[in-house]
C-alpha cells in the first residue's frame, strides 16, 4: 500500500476516485512516473480484481468479436473540442489526459448490460452512439449515420404497428401517435429511462459511457436549434415565431455590416453547432436501435428490441383526437358509408332546471346506436355523443389482431394474415 499526498494527486491530474476497472491502471499511454503510482488506490487488490472482472465479463466477447474496431472512437481525438476549464490541474507533461477506451468504461459496460444487449453488440458501437454530431464533426466517429438508420427502423416498426393496430386512424392522428412513440420527446424519455447520463461538455477526458453533445447557449430560441433527423425537422415554421430573417430593420443592419462583423456573427450563430439534451438523447436512442440492427441479426431482433423498449410504452391513442365539427363529420361518415343519417336522442336527464343538470344523449343511425355522450347541456351531450361515435369508428382494431407485415422478415414461409386496409379519412 502506498500513500499519496493530495498535492501529488493534483499534480498527477487524475481523479482520486478509482472508478470500476481502475482508470489509473488503464492509462498506459501516460508517462512512467504516473504508472509508478498506480497502486495508490490504497486497497488495490479488490478494486483491480473484482471490479474489473465485471468489465471483463461483459466486454470480453465484444472485444474479441471486433478487435480492430476498438480504438476507432478515440483515435483521432484532436477534432474533439477541448474543455475550456479542467477540473484537475494539469502539468506540462500531462496537458491532455487520454480518456478511457470504450471497452474500458464501466459506465458503458453497465449500460450494455442494463439493456440486455447481446455479446455481438460491441461496446465501441454503443460508445459511438453516445457521441452526437455536435460533439464530434467527423462522421465516422459520431452517431449521425447510425441515428439516421435507427430513425428509419423506428419509423418502420412504429408505423406498421399503428396501421395494423388501428387501420382507420386519420392521417393527422397517425402522425401524432408516431410522434408520441418515436418523436424526440418520447425517445429522450426512453434514453433517460435507460439511465444514460450526459457529460457536462464534450471533451477528451469524458467517460465514453456518457452522452456527449454541445449544449445550446442559454437564451437561444428553440426554433434555431438544428434538430436531428426525421421527426425533429419542423415541416414549416410556426406562425407564432417571428421571422427575423425577413425583417426590414434587421435586413438593413445586415446590409450595413462589414465582412469582419459578418464572420463574427456567423461564428456565433446560436444553435448552429449545438443541440439540446432532448435531441441528443433521442439521437442516441435511434443510434442504439441501429446498432441492434447491425450487430444482432438484422430485422427480427431489431423488431424485438423496438417493441420491447419503445412500442411497449403506454400511449392513449383515443386521447389524441381533437375534432372541429364532430356532428358534421359523423354525418359525412354516415353518407359515405351508406348508413342512415345520425339522429341524436335524449336518453336520460336529471335536474334540467337545476345548477347541475345532466343529459345523456345517444346518437343513432336508424336502429343502431353509434355513440353516447353525457353533458351538462343538450348541445354538449350531443357533441360528446358524436365524438364517441367517431372514435368508435376511427379506433377500430381487429379483434383477433392481424399479423404485422414485418413478421415475414423472419422468413418468407411464415403464415401471415394481412392487415385491414381502410378507405381512409373523411375529407370534406
Amino acid at each position: 500500500m502506498r500513500r499519496v499526498s493530495r498535492s501529488t494527486w493534483d499534480s498527477l491530474a487524475v481523479p482520486r476516485r478509482c472508478v470500476c476497472g481502475n482508470p489509473i491502471r488503464l492509462n498506459d499511454l501516460l508517462s512512467s512516473s504516473f504508472s509508478t503510482t498506480t497502486s495508490s488506490s490504497s486497497f488495490s487488490s479488490p478494486s483491480s480484481s473484482s471490479s474489473s472482472s465485471s468489465l471483463s465479463t461483459s466486454i470480453s466477447s465484444s472485444a474479441t468479436s471486433r478487435p480492430s474496431s476498438i480504438p476507432t472512437i478515440r483515435s483521432s481525438s484532436s477534432s474533439l473540442k477541448p474543455r475550456t476549464s479542467r477540473p484537475f490541474s494539469t502539468t506540462s507533461s500531462l496537458a491532455v489526459i487520454p480518456s478511457l477506451l470504450p471497452t474500458q468504461s464501466a459506465k458503458l459496460a453497465a449500460l450494455h448490460g442494463r439493456l440486455g444487449l447481446p455479446n455481438g453488440y460491441p461496446l465501441t458501437t454503443l460508445g459511438r452512439a453516445l457521441i452526437d454530431p455536435t460533439a464530434e464533426s467527423e462522421h465516422h466517429l459520431n452517431n449521425d449515420g447510425l441515428s439516421n438508420l435507427g430513425n428509419v427502423l423506428l419509423g418502420y416498426y412504429a408505423s406498421e404497428y399503428l396501421m395494423v393496430q388501428y387501420p382507420r386512424l386519420p392521417y393527422e392522428i397517425l402522425k401524432t401517435a408516431m410522434d408520441g412513440y418515436i418523436g424526440p420527446r418520447a425517445l429522450a424519455a426512453v434514453g433517460t429511462g435507460w439511465g444514460v447520463e450526459a457529460a457536462f461538455a464534450p471533451g477528451e477526458t469524458v467517460d465514453p459511457g456518457l452522452l456527449q453533445f454541445n449544449r445550446v447557449a442559454p437564451g437561444t430560441p428553440l426554433y434555431k436549434v438544428q434538430g436531428g433527423v426525421g421527426f425533429n425537422i419542423p415541416r414549416k415554421r410556426n406562425r407564432m415565431v417571428p421571422n427575423f430573417e425577413n425583417n426590414p430593420s434587421v435586413n438593413a443592419e445586415l446590409a450595413a455590416e462589414t465582412p469582419e462583423m459578418k464572420a463574427a456573427r456567423e461564428s456565433q450563430r446560436p444553435g448552429q453547432d449545438a443541440t439540446t439534451l432532448q435531441l441528443a438523447m433521442a439521437s442516441f436512442v435511434r443510434a442504439a436501435v441501429a446498432g441492434v440492427y447491425l450487430h444482432s441479426g438484422g430485422l427480427p431482433s431489431t423488431k424485438e428490441f423496438v417493441h420491447a423498449h419503445v412500442l411497449s410504452r403506454k400511449l392513449d391513442v383515443d386521447k389524441l383526437f381533437q375534432f372541429e365539427q364532430p356532428t358534421r363529420e359523423l354525418s359525412r361518415l354516415c353518407v359515405r358509408e351508406g348508413f342512415q343519417q345520425p339522429i341524436a336522442r335524449l336518453e336520460k336527464e336529471t335536474g334540467r332546471y337545476s345548477r347541475h343538470a345532466v343529459f345523456i344523449v345517444g346518437v343513432y343511425s336508424g336502429e343502431e346506436k353509434l355513440g353516447e355522450g353525457q353533458g351538462s347541456s343538450l348541445p354538449e351531450a350531443k357533441i360528446k355523443a358524436a365524438i364517441s361515435a367517431l372514435k368508435g369508428w376511427y379506433l377500430y382494431s381487429p379483434a383477433s389482431g392481424a399479423d404485422l407485415p414485418s413478421k415475414t422478415d423472419g422468413g418468407p414461409g411464415l403464415p401471415f394474415t394481412p392487415a385491414v386496409i381502410d378507405v381512409g379519412d373523411i375529407v370534406s
Binding site: 473484482s50 459496460a109 403506454k314 383526437f321
Partner: protein, 140 residues
C-alpha cells in the same frame, strides 16, 4: 372539418416489454484501518467479483473512505441515491445490503394501499347511475 392531433408522449411501463434495472451504480466505500470495515473488506476480496458478474447492468465502484465507517451507495435512474452503512457487518450481511440496494427502485419508501397500480383504464368502467338497471340503481 379536420381532425387535429393533440401532442402526447408515451409513458414508460418498466417490465412491460423490457425490464430495466433501476440501480445503475453501486459504490463501495471502506476504511483501510478501522475494524468496522473488516466485513466489508472481506466482501470486496471474496464476493464482489461474483456479485459484479451476476449484475452486468450495475456499475461497480470501489473507493477508500478513510477514518469513516464503510458504506454502500446506490445511484438510481430516477437520480436519487440510497446509502447504507455496513459497519461491523459480516460478509453475507454486506452482500444482503448490496442486493437490497441493487433491487431497490430508488423511490422514497411509500405506502401502497392499492393492490394494483396501472396506467390502463378500468376494464369494467365507472359505475353510472344513469346506466344501472334494476336493483343496481342507486336510490337516494
Amino acid at each position: 372539418m379536420v381532425v387535429r392531433g393533440l401532442q402526447a408522449v408515451s409513458k414508460a411501463q418498466n417490465g412491460v416489454g423490457a425490464f430495466i434495472l433501476q440501480c445503475k451504480r453501486l459504490e463501495f466505500n471502506y476504511c483501510e484501518m478501522s475494524g468496522s470495515s473488516r466485513g466489508m473488506k472481506a466482501f470486496l476480496k471474496t464476493r464482489l467479483a461474483t456479485f459484479a458478474k451476476e449484475n452486468p447492468g450495475v456499475e461497480i465502484v470501489v473507493s477508500p473512505r478513510p477514518k469513516k465507517h464503510p458504506i454502500i451507495r446506490g445511484s438510481y435512474i430516477n437520480k436519487r441515491e440510497k446509502v447504507v452503512c455496513v459497519r461491523n457487518l459480516e460478509v453475507l450481511q454486506v452482500l444482503q445490503k448490496a442486493e437490497l440496494l441493487r433491487d431497490a427502485s430508488g423511490d422514497k419508501i411509500k405506502k401502497i394501499n392499492k393492490p394494483v397500480q396501472s396506467l390502463n383504464d378500468s376494464v369494467r368502467g365507472i359505475w353510472s347511475p344513469y346506466h344501472a338497471k334494476g336493483e343496481d340503481v342507486y336510490k337516494v
